[in-house]
């Protein structure tokens, strides 16, 4: 038990230190981490992400807490929370104390200039990854959504129409209106009940 808690703490501490760009990078990194260390299944992680996205507060912290709860109950919640919160808090305090000036230096800005686009690429990858693993995009023969409208060319799966529509609609609602994610996720759940 203790070793699980320690492992969770260290995993999130590591993710936390590299989570430039906030929540969704942490999720991408978590997915990567789970490829090598299968503490939970990808489908379970996506359920946690959905719940994290519905709740108030930062998605990174919410997912950490959700994952901790799933794996080890309340002690797991505590160790994941501390793991995700402590390292970046220390960095913030150090910056607040000593490096506020350093942040404005051209070298720091140049570093961030190259680093931030990488986080965008990583986030895009995690979106593609979820779509592929769930049979929405380029599904493997075993992973095709049975009750969907699947488009394929020469036997190669391209995408599943209903899911793509849900992706586009939820993206547009987020981008063009002020609808809160909680309603988008609930709406998508209802849409899922109706069309699948």
């Amino acid at each position: 038990m203790l070793s699980t808690l320690l492992k969770l703490f260290l995993m999130f501490a590591k993710l936390s230190l590299f989570s430039f760009g906030g929540g969704y990078v942490v999720i991408s990194m978590l997915m990567k981490e789970l490829e090598t260390d299968k503490v939970i299944k990808l489908s379970e992680l996506i359920e946690i992400i959905a719940i994290a996205g519905m709740s108030p507060g930062p998605v990174a912290v919410n997912s950490a807490v959700g994952l901790g709860y799933k794996i080890a109950g309340l002690p797991g919640v505590l160790s994941c929370f501390l793991g995700i919160a402590i390292p970046c808090s220390i960095v913030v305090i150090l910056v607040a104390k000593f490096f506020f000036k350093m942040y404005e230096k051209p070298a720091t800005q140049a570093f961030l200039y190259g680093l931030m686009p990488v986080t965008v690429g990583i986030i895009l990858y995690s979106a593609a990854n979820i779509a592929i693993k769930n049979g929405i995009l380029l599904a493997q023969p075993g992973g095709i959504i049975a009750d969907g409208i699947n488009l394929a060319i020469k036997g190669v799966h391209l995408f599943e129409v209903k899911s793509i529509i849900i992706i586009v609609v939820s993206f547009l609602l987020l981008a063009k209106t002020r609808v809160h994610p909680v309603f988008i996720i609930l709406g998508a759940g209802i849409a899922g009940l109706l069309v699948f």
Partner: protein
């Protein structure tokens, strides 16, 4: 005198905790949605931090690792009352969302085995993809400053998606590339100027 100082300090910490607790309750949508609320509460109502300093704090909080709302809380809490202040701020800010996550998790584990939940989740998975794409766009708006940035982003995507490289070296390589490109540019510009 000593006791009076201590009660004053405890009151301040409680004030920080409850201010951020209140912000945490309304922070649906995460970091970016929360910034204007933080600004209003912290700079205008409580006057803990000067208004002009807030933009700088947001910029720093956003470019350090970690969620921007969380980093801002820690930063403000620390400026107002040191390390205890930052702990009060972070605890207050996150308590509401942690409570909501845990109740949803507990509720979900009761219904998860029903076939209805399975088909609801077939609708939710793509919505999560939409959510993540939107997050990428939002960060992209500030991160992708020019064509070079777009190229770095594409290379990073290929590195992690096709070459399956681990993230941390790719992130650091991006930073190093940014540093190198800026250096080369400034050398080039100074030569041209001569």
């Amino acid at each position: 005198m000593e006791v009076k100082m201590q009660t004053k300090r405890l009151k301040l910490l409680a004030d920080i905790f409850f201010t951020f607790f209140k912000l945490g309750c309304v922070s649906f949508g995460g970091g970016f949605a929360m910034l204007s609320l933080i600004q209003r509460e912290v700079a205008e109502t409580k006057k803990w931090v000067h208004k002009d300093k807030m933009a700088g704090i947001f910029a720093v909080a956003g470019s350090l690792p970690g969620a921007i709302a969380l980093n801002t809380s820690v930063f403000v809490g620390y400026s107002v009352a040191g390390i205890p202040g930052s702990i009060a701020a972070i605890a207050g800010n996150l308590a509401p969302s942690i409570a909501v996550v845990l109740s949803l998790m507990a509720f979900y584990s009761r219904v998860s085995s029903s076939p209805l939940a399975a088909s609801a989740f077939k609708g939710i998975y793509p919505a999560v993809v939409g959510l993540i794409l939107y997050a990428a766009c939002k960060i992209g708006k500030t991160a992708l400053k020019d064509v070079t940035c777009v190229v770095i982003m594409l290379l990073a995507f290929i590195c992690v998606a096709v070459a399956n490289l681990p993230f941390v070296p790719v992130i650091l390589a991006g930073g190093a590339a940014g540093f190198a490109i800026s250096r080369i540019r400034s050398l080039y510009l100074s030569k041209k100027g001569r």
